[in-house]
Amino acid sequence: MTLNAAITGVGMSDIGRKTNRPAILHLAEAVKRALDCAGLTKDDIDGISTYPGKADNSPGMSPLGTGEVRNALGLKTRWHSAVPDGPSQMAPIQVAAMAVATGQARHVLCFRALTESSSQTATRRASIPGAGRARLGGWYSYLVPANAMSASNWAGWMAQRYFHEFGMTREHLGLVATGQRAFAQKNPSAVMRTPLTMDEYLGARMISSPLGLFDCDVPIDGACVVIVSAADAAKDCAKAPLTIEAMGAALGSQETWDQRTDLTTMGAHDSAADMWKRTDLKPADVDMLALYDGFSIFVPYWLEALGFCGHGEAKDFIAEGNIGPGGRFPVNTGGGQLSGGRLHGFGLLHEACMQLWGQADGRQVADAKVAACGMGGGFIAGSMLLRRD
């Protein structure tokens, strides 16, 4: 089974903290690099896709919409989409894949740009939903007024329940954080590259128990671009197309963080199960994983959702050394968002593509051909298998 869609290029700006560089300049840099990667010019781009679209009331969270990017970069797109509600941070890639598969575009520029780090002040955080609004609506109106303002609180609930049921400890999550930091040390573009020991992890201040500072991803300024192309158009590109083998985007529960019947699972489980129905590939065929790590606890959830281990078994799977440097199923080899910076999944996809193209210098997984990607936490989720033939 193969979708008529492939990734043909990726590009990332020089990301950093408090860069005070406007988002459009980060994005322009990422676009140039993605076009160079794909061997395309800006005139080849006829579609544009982003998540979540421009968000004026949330500083730095999503400063660029499709229209202003089209104007600023002089693109001549015929198809565009921005997806605030949808199957996670992967939604713009999945929607783009459908656009090229249905002939509505040939090469779609999918982007994510953030200036969360520069925009964060003493009184405003981009990550607090509804920041700046007088009254709240929607699902988070049942959480934020209770002072459950941050996704770290919501993820904390999941982690606490999971710890309770399956005996996971902070040391297990510490292996995720320190393992990804060890990868980040081999990635010049990661923002956190100093060594992180288990003692430092355990000694760091608590954010929302049982999640501490190093369980949370790092707000940054930067941009990342993924170019999705129709399979026939992809043949003209500079690199071997990375075929989208299968996608999944199911949501089997209410669209809230606290009402899912079993909070030791999340939307990832619905999404991943849906994806595996449409491929002959199995977890054993996978060479590396790109798993959303807004919080460390999402990694074991994704491992279980994707079937790399059974429900409740991720702590042992992690402790056995499967996911860190040298492991059989390396996860987030660029350092992930915990050490690389929060690009809302795009950075993880960038790394997966570099691995499949054999260009992950210093941290290359030998002969990586298949990547499993899972984006999102809580109720939102999107899954994708990428394949280099």
Binding site: G130, P145, N153, R205, Q259
Partner: protein, 131 residues
């Protein structure tokens, strides 16, 4: 100052029942399905006969977290946030701050009861230990 919810036809009973000391949950008048967050149509059978009923206001902690990070200026920390399985409303959880106790003593399985905090026209449910 915490953000307030916008009061709507479906959620006003939930956010204002505390004025009478009552925790009010939406139920389907036809199939008795408990609906939370509240809706004006039953998600199970699509009946519009949604009713707002007072529940006992007790429950069991399904999970919790102790928040240590001040997300807003002058936010007092730490505090516990509990996701509580509600008595009398199968499948419904109400998430709220835990008060009148040391946050570090909150546990999964703990029995709690509701109390309310009033800000403007909203009465926030809060949890406190039942014993």
């Amino acid at each position: 100052m915490r953000p307030l919810p916008e009061l709507t036809p479906e959620n006003t009973a939930f956010w204002t029942g505390g004025a009478q000391g009552e925790l009010i949950i939406a139920f389907c008048g036809d199939c008795d399905h408990a609906i939370h967050p509240p809706q004006l149509v039953c998600p199970k059978c699509w009946s519009e006969a949604v009713e707002f009923k007072t529940v006992p206001g007790t429950g069991t902690v399904y999970t919790y977290t102790v928040n240590h990070q001040p997300w807003m200026p002058d936010m007092p920390v730490p505090f516990a946030l509990a996701v509580v399985d509600l008595d009398g409303a199968p499948g419904v959880r109400v998430t709220a701050e835990v008060v009148n106790t040391d946050p570090e003593t909150v546990r999964i399985g703990q029995a709690v009861r509701v109390t309310f905090a009033n800000v403007d026209d909203v009465w926030f449910p809060q949890w406190e230990p039942a014993q």
